[in-house]
Amino acid sequence: MNNGGAKRMNGAGEEDDDEDYVNGDLDAWERTYTDERSWESLQEDESGLLRPIDNKALYHSQYRRRLRSLSSTATAARIQKGLIRYLYIVIDLSRAASETDFRPSRIVVIAKHVEAFIREFFDQNPLSQVGLLTIKDGVAQCLTDLGGSPESHIKALMNKLECSGDSSLQNALDLVDGYLNQIPSYGHREVLILYSALSTCDPGDIMETIQKCKKSKIRCSVIGLAAEMFICKHLCQETGGTYSVALDESHFKELILEHAPPPPAIAEFATANLIKMGFPQRAAEGSISICSCHKEAKVGAGYACPRCKARVCELPTECRICGLTLVSSPHLARSYHHLFPIAPFDEVPPSNLNDPNHKLQRNCFGCQQSLLNPGNKPGLLVVCPKCKRYFCLDCDIYIHESLHNCPGCDSFRHSKAD
């Protein structure tokens, strides 16, 4: 816990000689320093003064890396994306998950980010479904069935966060395999395992189970919280998933959110098919009916299943009565930005900025923030390769991660457009 290699700065805190104590011997005020490691967020500038670390540039370079890796796969070919996904999230609730190397403990961090992930997942994949599984005392248990409502999953998860016993990869995979074999063939089967333990306690030969998963075309990905394990790596390699180990909380968040956008589809993994779907209309305002999802009488604002006329509260969902998938047309439109991605912006090399011939925009085209640092020196900025407008780094991230539009290109009428 007391990591002597941590970057220590003179004057960062008063408790420099507490390093050798074990955590339990520290006073409460000392513990807050060792727990939060507040000195790690400081760095020394050229004149020896302490400053907060410039996270902005750091975040941005991480984001650029992510964007590049995404766009390189997307531009490689006309990649088909698996838009209809059936994902099981397996959460390791073994003894190892209660370790406190993540603050306040691994499991709390996992729960927090799984919640964010589930919301992001449904935002990006409105037609997909998620289920939750836990591993505890060497046994895998199904927490929630596959479903499309983020709230019900999050609620179920938050009630079950006790950790105990060993972890068993094989039991989890067997259970997932059983569930995912039932889903229709057009769906993309995926498992995301959040693994805290450094061992797996299995009843049989896990290699056979891995081969079984491979045969069932389940894409297994693992995010480790401790250290790299051969068996996890082997599993991911065999089934075409990704394996990564989180360094700290922010890294873990980044790794888990990487699984939210639809992965490139592998043609033989899911067969194309026509899915029957209903487009329910909004029920008339003021009409009273019993909704099939909460089993309560409600007034107005609901949707009626076109096949069985049962009432549901929100879309997208599956009709509880007749099983028809119910969506609204904007849900289909929401998936389209995956099919029409916008080009990554280019970073502007600093040499260009000093060029007097080069007329530089003074403000970010998106948010109007000044692009000049204090001292009138231009900071890091990016340029859209199509419309040649300059943007600040924050807008760059927002545009590519959430908006999926280039404000510059959209606010200029192309001659070809009409």
């Binding site: 487009f279 047309s329 009428r413």
Partner: protein
């Protein structure tokens, strides 16, 4: 950003980003002249700024050829009067607007004939959202942002009947991917992207539509993001409409009876016959919509297996029953 003490940012402080439609092809034909419209809007903007000292107003012009920021109340430091005539706010806004209109006009190469062309709403929406993100970044406490579209131009040809257009997008899909020069129908996707992004950051899009036919597209935008949509009956009283409906901050809205959305249709049109349908078949690869079962997807060319969707939903049902 305004450097007000943070505790002053109570729940009734608003940031209103107003998107003003300056499309000359609409205003030429409108019963309300553009200058009359501007006097209504300026009075409205002044009213918002005086409702709360910390309120902020940003105005973005949505032109025919371009979009740009024309006013930002936080950057104008001098709110005083100039020679006792017009407040500086109005004069700087009008001056910027004039510059914008001249520039916008120069950009148009030829005058389109036929019906009124749409303005570049997707661009100004995207800019407004970028600005709002900057406000979100400015700290934990900030004014509550919302977007108000004052739109007169009709929905673009690409937005006409929303989901008929999806079919057009799809028939262009392969062509777009092949030739990589597909500007043609991107604007529809762009507007939908902006709406979803606004929804995700919980920014309501209010819309006031001044054109002849109601805009199906703005209705959807307001509905999806939880904003208010209204089409004034009498444009002469625009100021009254703006004040009573769109001036209230987000917190106070819960106490008011604002216009409710009527009949937002979420049904889709099939790509094969362009019929509006309740139930249909969706291609699992490209999400094209069909009214009947086909053997092959006409859009992406995938060959389908047998119609097993019925069987699948039956098995789903079986799996669900014990739990419920």
């Amino acid at each position: 950003m305004a450097s007000a003490p943070s505790k002053l940012y109570a729940d009734d402080v608003s940031l209103v980003v107003v998107l003003v439609d300056t499309n000359p092809f609409f205003w030429r034909a409108s019963s309300l002249s553009f200058s009359q419209f501007l006097s209504h809007v300026l009075a409205f903007l002044n009213a918002i700024l005086t409702l709360n000292q910390l309120n902020q107003v940003v105005v973005i012009a949505t032109g025919y050829n371009s979009c740009n920021y024309i006013f930002d109340s936080s950057s104008d430091l001098n709110q005083s009067f100039e020679n006792g005539r017009m407040p500086v706010m109005c004069s700087s806004l009008l001056q910027k607007l004039e510059e914008f209109l001249i520039k916008d006009e120069q950009l148009s190469k030829e005058v389109p004939e036929g019906r009124i062309k749409s303005s570049l709403l997707s661009g100004s929406l995207s800019m407004a959202l970028c600005y709002i993100q900057r406000v979100f970044r400015s700290g934990a406490l900030h004014p509550h942002p919302r977007i108000l579209c004052l739109q007169g131009s009709p929905d673009g040809p690409e937005q006409y009947v929303l989901f008929n257009i999806l079919s057009v997008i799809y028939s262009f899909l392969l062509w777009l991917l092949d030739s990589n020069k597909g500007f043609l129908l991107f604007r529809y996707v762009a507007i939908m992207n902006a709406i979803f992004s606004a929804q995700r950051s919980m920014v309501p899009i209010d819309s006031c539509y001044m054109g002849a036919q109601n805009s199906a597209f703005l209705q959807q935008a307001s509905y999806i993001t939880g904003g208010v949509h209204h089409k004034p009956q009498h444009l002469d009283g625009l100021f009254q409409y703006l004040m009573t409906i769109f001036a209230t901050d987000l917190h106070s809205r819960s106490f008011l009876h604002l216009p409710k959305p009527v009949g937002v249709d979420f049904r889709a049109s099939c790509f094969c016959h362009k019929n509006t349908i309740d139930m249909g078949y969706i291609c699992s690869v490209c999400l094209s919509i069909f009214c009947k079962h086909h053997k092959k997807c006409s859009t992406c060319g995938s060959v389908f297996g047998q119609a097993q969707s019925e069987a699948a939903s039956a098995s789903d049902k079986k799996r669900k029953t014990p739990e419920t």
